[in-house]
Symmetry: none
Subunit: 167 residues, 2 copies
DNA sequence: TGCAATTCCATTGACGCCCAAATTTTCCCA
DNA sequence: TGGGAAAATTTGGGCGTCAATGGAATTGCA
């Protein structure tokens, strides 16, 4: 099912003999609503996967660049990494795309890919790498929540604060 | 009776030949009041069960992401664990859902499931695991209350040593 | 003209959707 | 307080649609 929100959940599927993969139908529904023609794609900045999306993703990218001063080195770097390596893939009438060689190389993609929802965009991973990445993400999230809860309720160990200080 | 509050009590039922389970009617009433279309589902962050709900649960999950800056590595990572593993299940006209394979795998679900109310959300468990979890929860709660009462009785004596110093 | 890439078409299987039966629960009245 | 009727819920199944996949045909390019 597909709510009215963004890209959600994850799906794995095989490339066929010609190297095509069908974008999961729920994701296609989001793209259709977004109204972008084709699929906007660029290598992800900090992981070995590719970011995909439509207008919403583009907006996010431009939002990242806008605050950077026009001729700064920083802006140049981002612009090179994001825009310079972007592609727009065609989506055939069946909802399939053909990943370019450079994309497959970057993400280490072979016979299968994993589609992973990130609300305004989704990522394409080599499934094995994704499993590792997901485990890492869960573990980090677990630590993060532990910190949060430790701060919120200190069940039976009142912080060794001298007096009755309100926080 | 079903109050006007959240998800309450627990129910167990079997999956049918097509792998469907009907959501207990009292829970459906809560969902209807919540107004969410479908059932928002996510592997629980703390236990081997799945969290289910509507807008209220969605708010909890997205609330973890909101404070993180848009294109940060941390944001990406957490959204992998949160959004990438969420699903929205369709509820048929009889109030049944079809659990995905990944959900069943995560929770170890076979032929039966237990629905457990948690106020603003409910969980789906493999019944055996739930019994174990419940037993442990009771035991932990017992210890916890013991500490509390001990503190009351001895108002100014040094606080009793906490139990399990945390996993 | 041969090769490759893209578009189009067909098959398969899964899933959503609807209808019907049976069991359980609720409520009312004797 | 017990029986029984009515309603609601839980089950089971059938059918149609859509998505995924594989192959065929057509077009463009060398």
């Amino acid at each position: 099912m597909d709510g009215s929100g963004g890209f959600l959940s994850n799906y794995t599927s095989r490339l066929d003999a010609k190297g095509r993969v069908s974008i999961p139908a729920p994701f296609r529904a989001v793209l259709a609503r977004d109204g972008f023609e084709g699929l906007y794609v660029h290598p992800s900045l900090d992981v070995e996967a590719v970011d995909c999306g439509g207008h919403a993703l583009l907006r996010e990218i431009h939002g990242l660049l806008r605050p950077l001063s026009p001729y700064s080195e920083e802006r140049d770097l981002f612009s090179t990494a994001l825009i310079g390596t972007s592609e727009i893939l065609k989506i055939d009438s069946e909802g399939r795309v053909n990943l370019s060689e450079s994309i497959k190389a970057y993400a280490g993609i072979g016979a299968e890919v994993a589609f992973v929802g990130h609300d305004f965009k989704f990522q394409i991973w080599e499934p094995g790498r994704f499993r590792v990445h997901l485990a890492e993400a869960k573990s980090r999230l677990h630590d993060f929540r532990k910190q949060l809860s430790a701060r919120h309720v200190a069940p039976d160990s009142p912080p060794p604060r001298p007096h009755g200080a309100r926080e």
